[in-house]
C-alpha cells in the first residue's frame, strides 16, 4: 500500500513528510557503502523532482535547521532531514496552488456548519 510520499501526508508523519522509502534502513552506517549510496540517491531523487524555486526553499529551510540545531544532529539525522524536507515540499506547493480568493477567510477551529447555513 505504499505510495509516493509526494502524494499525501500520513497521520504518523503529518507535514514532516510521508517518507515512503525505507529511510531508516537506508541510513549510512554499518549497513555499508551501497546502502549509503542508495540513501544519497533517494535524496537526490526527491530534490530532482522539485522546481528550482522549490529546491532553493528546501535548501534554505535545511540550512536554518542546521544553523539552529545542527550541533545536536548526527550525519544520519541530517541526511534524514534532507530527504524528508525534499519529499514534503511537493505537498506544500500543491497546497499553495489551490485556488483561494482574497476574501476566503481562515477557520482556526472547526466550524459547526449545519445544512448549508454557510451560504
Amino acid at each position: 500500500m505504499s505510495k509516493s510520499s509526494q502524494e499525501h501526508i500520513t497521520r504518523r508523519s503529518f507535514a514532516v513528510g510521508a517518507a515512503a522509502a525505507a529511510t531508516a534502513a537506508l541510513l549510512p552506517g554499518k549497513e555499508g557503502r551501497a546502502e549509503g549510496e542508495a540513501f544519497a540517491q533517494s535524496q537526490t531523487d526527491a530534490m530532482s523532482k522539485l522546481s528550482p524555486g522549490g529546491r532553493a526553499e528546501v535548501e534554505a529551510k535545511i540550512k536554518e535547521i542546521f544553523r539552529k540545531y545542527g550541533s545536536r544532529l548526527s550525519d544520519a539525522q541530517k541526511a534524514d532531514i534532507r530527504k524528508v524536507m525534499a519529499e514534503t515540499q511537493d505537498g506544500l506547493e500543491k497546497m499553495r496552488s489551490f485556488a483561494l480568493a482574497n476574501g476566503d477567510q481562515p477557520a482556526s477551529v472547526p466550524l459547526i456548519l449545519r445544512r448549508g447555513d454557510h451560504r
Binding site: 505504499s2 497521520r11 508523519s13 514532516v16 510521508a18 545536536r72 476566503d104 482556526s108 477551529v109
Partner: protein, 467 residues
C-alpha cells in the same frame, strides 16, 4: 476470577447486572486487574495500573449500590484512560520517555466526570509517544514498547491510542478513553476490532489532556459496541470553561442516540481508498450489503470533494504540534524519544511558514463548506475504516501503513464525528472494520447507523482467545 464470558460483556450488560446486584463491582474490578497484570503486561497495554484507586472506587460503588444509590450506567464499571489524561497521584507520561516522571495535581475533566458517574479507573493506557505529534515510523514509538494486537501478538494495534484498543480488545477493562488528532481512535479500533467513537470537536473537554493540535484534538470512548460508546459519550460530553475549544452546553451535551423517525441516508464513499486489500474489500462489500438491506437506512454512493485537504490538515497539526512541544524541541530533549522520526520531526515542523499555516486554515474553511454541502445529500457517510488489516510489530510504517486517507484528514480538520465498528476478519484472523462519519453534532446519527449495523451482525461480539 470471573470468566471471559463476563469480562467481555458490553457495558450495557455489565451495568444491568451491577444494578440488579447480580455482579459485584469489586469482583469485576479484581478480575480485570488480575487479567491486566498478566495479559496486559504481555501486550504492553498499560503505562500504569491504578490498582489502589480502582479498588477504593469499586468498594465505594459496591457500598453505594447496596445502599440503593445507583448513579447510572457507568456506576461500578472499570475502565482505562489513555496516558495523556491527568490523574492526580499517578504519573501521566504522555507515552514518552522525556516525561516519564511527570505528574499533575489535578484530574482531567473527563476523569472527574467518570468519577462522578461512579466509574472505576483501573489504569493508564499505553500510547504512542506524544500521540505521534512529532511523527513516528515504528510501533516501538512508545515508552513501554510496541503494543501487541490481542488477536495476534505478532501484529500491532495501530496508534496512537494503542493501549486503549488492546485493553478493550483483550477484555482487560469494560471500556477505555482514547484520543484522536488524526486516526488515533479510528485506526486502533479498526485494527483491534472494537467500537471506537471520535466525537464532534468541542463536545468533550480536553482540560487535563496533553495538547497536540489545539484545533484538532478529540477525546472519545473505545468500547465493545456502539451502544457502549453512546453510554460513555453521554457521561463525558458537556461544556467546560477550562477548555477554550469547548462548545456551549446545548451543543456540547450529548443526549444519546434514539431510533430515527425516518431512514438514515447513508452515503457510501466511492473515492476514499485508492487501493484496498482483497480481504478488506470482501468484508466491506458484505457490510455495505447489510446496510443496503436495512429498512432503517437508505444507501447511496457519494464522492468526497477533491482538494489538498490532507496536506492542509498535516500543516495545521505540524504547526500546532511544534508550538505545543516547543520546549521539548528547543531543549533538545526530543532526542530522548524512541522513534527516529520523532527525534527530528519537531525541527522540521518549525520551518513551516506562517503564510503556509494561514493557507491551510483558509483551506480548512473551504472543505468545511464542501462537507456541509455533501451532508445535505446524506446524513452519514460510510467506508472501510482502513484499506488494510493490522501491520506487523516491527515494520517500517512508512512502507507498510502509508496511503492517502482523505476522510481521515477531512474528518479531523472539520471536527466531524466518526465511529469504527468491526465487520469481519482477514485470512489470518485479523479484524476488518467500517466507519461511519457524520456532520458536526450528528454524533447520534453516527452511533445510530453503527447500532443498526451491529443489530444485523455479530462481529462486535467476537473476541480473541487469550491464554
Amino acid at each position: 476470577m470471573l470468566s471471559d464470558d463476563v469480562l467481555y460483556l458490553p457495558v450495557t450488560e455489565l451495568s444491568r447486572r451491577i444494578r440488579l446486584r447480580q455482579l459485584s463491582p469489586v469482583k469485576l474490578t479484581e478480575s480485570y486487574l488480575e487479567r491486566s497484570q498478566k495479559v496486559g503486561a504481555r501486550l504492553n497495554a498499560y503505562a500504569t495500573l491504578t490498582s489502589d484507586l480502582a479498588l477504593k472506587q469499586a468498594h465505594a460503588a459496591e457500598k453505594e449500590i447496596a445502599a440503593g444509590k445507583h448513579r447510572g450506567p457507568l456506576h461500578g464499571i472499570p475502565y482505562a484512560a489513555k496516558d495523556l489524561l491527568a490523574v492526580k497521584g499517578y504519573p501521566t507520561a504522555w507515552g514518552a520517555r522525556p516525561y516519564k516522571d511527570q505528574s499533575f495535581d489535578y484530574d482531567a475533566t473527563v476523569i472527574k466526570k467518570l468519577d462522578a458517574a461512579g466509574a472505576v479507573l483501573i489504569g493508564k493506557a499505553a500510547m504512542i509517544e506524544l500521540a505521534g505529534g512529532l511523527g513516528y515510523r515504528y510501533a516501538s514509538a512508545s515508552a513501554g514498547g510496541p503494543t501487541k494486537n490481542p488477536w495476534n501478538e505478532e501484529f500491532w494495534t495501530c496508534g496512537s491510542s494503542s493501549g486503549s484498543a488492546a485493553i478493550v480488545g483483550a477484555g482487560l477493562a469494560a471500556f477505555a478513553l482514547g484520543t484522536e488528532t488524526w486516526g488515533s481512535i479510528i485506526c486502533p479500533s479498526g485494527f483491534v476490532g472494537i467500537s471506537g467513537l471520535r466525537p464532534t470537536f468541542g463536545r468533550v473537554s480536553r482540560y487535563g489532556a496533553m495538547a497536540l493540535a489545539y484545533s484538532m484534538d478529540h477525546i472519545g470512548p473505545m468500547c465493545r459496541s456502539a451502544d457502549d460508546c453512546d453510554l460513555v459519550l453521554k457521561v463525558i460530553s458537556g461544556h467546560d470553561p477550562q477548555d477554550a475549544g469547548s462548545l456551549a452546553e446545548p451543543q456540547a451535551k450529548y443526549a444519546g442516540a434514539v431510533p430515527p423517525a425516518k431512514p438514515l441516508r447513508v452515503g457510501w464513499i466511492a473515492n476514499q481508498w485508492k487501493e484496498i486489500s482483497p480481504d478488506v474489500n470482501k468484508y466491506s462489500t458484505a457490510a455495505r450489503e447489510v446496510l443496503g438491506k436495512s429498512n432503517l437506512l437508505k444507501l447511496s454512493t457519494v464522492s468526497l470533494p477533491e482538494g489538498p485537504w490532507e496536506i492542509a490538515a498535516g500543516v495545521i497539526v505540524s504547526v500546532e504540534g511544534a508550538a505545543a512541544f516547543r520546549d521539548l524541541i528547543q531543549s533538545g530533549k526530543v532526542s530522548e524519544l524512541n522513534d527516529p522520526l520523532g527525534k527530528i520531526g519537531g525541527y522540521m515542523n518549525e520551518t513551516i511558514s506562517a503564510s503556509d499555516h494561514m493557507t491551510a486554515e483558509r483551506i480548512r474553511r473551504i472543505v468545511q463548506k464542501k462537507m456541509d454541502d455533501l451532508f445535505t445529500q446524506v446524513d452519514v457517510l460510510a467506508t472501510s475504516s482502513l484499506p488494510v488489516t493490522a501491520t506487523k510489530l516491527d515494520v517500517n510504517l512508512d512502507e507498510a501503513l502509508t496511503f492517502p486517507d482523505p476522510i481521515g484528514g477531512i474528518g479531523n480538520i472539520c471536527g466531524l464525528p466518526a465511529i469504527s465498528v468491526p465487520c469481519g476478519f482477514d485470512h489470518v484472523g485479523l479484524p476488518i472494520s467500517i466507519q461511519f462519519i457524520g456532520r458536526p453534532l450528528d454524533d447520534a446519527q453516527v452511533v445510530q447507523a453503527a447500532r443498526i449495523f451491529q443489530a444485523q451482525t455479530d462481529w462486535h461480539k467476537r473476541h480473541p482467545k487469550l491464554s
